[in-house]
Amino acid sequence: MGFKMTETGGIDPDTWNRWHVVGCHDELPDDGARATRLLGRAITVERRGSGAEVRLTGGGALPVKVAYGYVWSSLGTPGPLFELPEHAEADRRNLNGCSFFVRTSPPRAIENFLDMAHFPFVHTGILGEEAHPDVKDYDVAISTDGREVVASNCHFYQPKAAAASTGGVDVTYRYRVPHPWCAILYKDSPAKPGRSDVIALFVQPCGEEEIVANLALFILDDDTPLPALRRFQQQIFVQDKPILENQMPRRLPLYPRADSPVRADKASIAYRRWLRQLGTSFGVLS
């Protein structure tokens, strides 16, 4: 109410007032601040014990929160961050799988993360294989409070679903998108039947066409060494990077029938509809 886009440099109010990830807490340098960018502004992020300090470069302090292993900040007045209760489950290992800079818009990265159809062709022999290219029908909805997109009952054959996998399996997936640029995947755990590994993509919006993609793991795997877990995630993400960087336009088109997806990808359609509801204009073409 009474929100003036001029006060936010043209950034839409939903984006301006949200928490955004600005780094993995464990990977911040031991001494000094790290320079990075948030929504086109130069910022610095510095570790302070178990907390952190985030400042506009040459300017004032920004709101800061450490949650789920990452530092979050905002240019506006943020409300609560989304819940991720699995983070607190004692038998999970929580780690940063990888962080890579990518030349794409934040929503393009989320759409790629939600899209199972690319697995057989981009992650051949790991998350899919060309002999099993079909995405079976699944359910997708915007939650009744309008706060997240949920996709469930996704089934897919995967030759090597996780670092701990010993063979191919039919995997069940569930996705939550509780933030325009954060998506959380729940995936059958190979180690603990009946429970899910949780893999989240937290996108740092450096600019409208520049991001840092952070893959966060909250997994039920006591045995695989840390470097092997990171190696598995890096290999997968680096296969997506050139796909993302070659998608044109880099901003996600939100106008009606934009991109006209040949295969009607339900998750993508719901995600775009949700961004329109939120009034998101950063990183999109409307």
Partner: protein, 208 residues
């Protein structure tokens, strides 16, 4: 058996893995985490590779730590006349030139690719400008080569380890925001390398 200490996303490492595959050689891969752990700079790895360079090939008592040395050794030891023209001094000289060219590509296109994706400090603009200058020279060389009936970086009917050493840095250049659209002869050459029998990919590289 040959052991290769290597990082999956290393372009130099990929050159060696690609050549081992083309030669049909088995090897044991020992992963080293370049990013984010910087394991190659640790004491344990420096004992093997004092310059902290990746990859490192170990074959019996022999330890090699630079891609030019590794490819030269593998070509001479296992490549036969196809890959190691022992009696042809001029061709060996040209291959040596090509290996040095791959080191220039590593220092420019290769460095900007790593610095970009992994957010490491580098003067990206200077590295990109020099990489583009090198690519222009290579594109012209390949274009004139094609006109003379040559398909590879060094004249002759067969690829050499110069092609293998340069290929990873060039095929991955777009990851460092160096578009290859302006180098048509290079793009045809990349496709020829992709069609070599035994060709393998790495994350970020797609097959023919």
């Amino acid at each position: 058996m040959i052991a290769l200490h290597d990082y999956d996303l290393s372009a130099e490492g990929y050159a060696v893995r690609l050549f081992l595959a083309l030669l049909g050689l088995d090897y044991r891969l020992l992963p080293v985490e370049f990013y984010p752990a910087r394991e190659h700079e640790g004491e344990e790895f420096r004992a093997l590779s004092p310059m902290a360079s990746l990859p490192v090939l170990v074959d019996g008592d022999l330890v090699l730590t630079e891609v030019a040395g590794i490819l030269s050794y593998l070509a001479a030891r296992h490549g036969g006349a196809d890959w190691y023209p022992a009696g042809d001094a001029a061709q060996l000289g040209r291959i040596g030139d090509g290996l040095a060219l791959s080191a220039r590509l590593a220092a420019t296109a290769g460095a900007v690719r790593l610095a970009d994706g992994m957010m490491l400090p580098l003067d990206g603009a200077a590295a990109r400008a020099e990489a583009k200058r090198l690519l222009r020279v290579i594109d012209e060389r390949l274009w004139f080569g094609e006109a003379a009936g040559d398909d590879w970086l060094c004249p002759g009917p067969r690829p050499s380890i110069a092609d293998i050493a340069c290929f990873p840095h060039i095929v991955l250049a777009e990851e460092g925001d160096i578009p290859l659209i302006d180098y048509p002869a290079i793009r045809r050459w990349l496709d020829r390398v992709r069609r070599l029998p035994g060709f393998v990919v790495m994350p970020g590289v797609f097959g023919a």
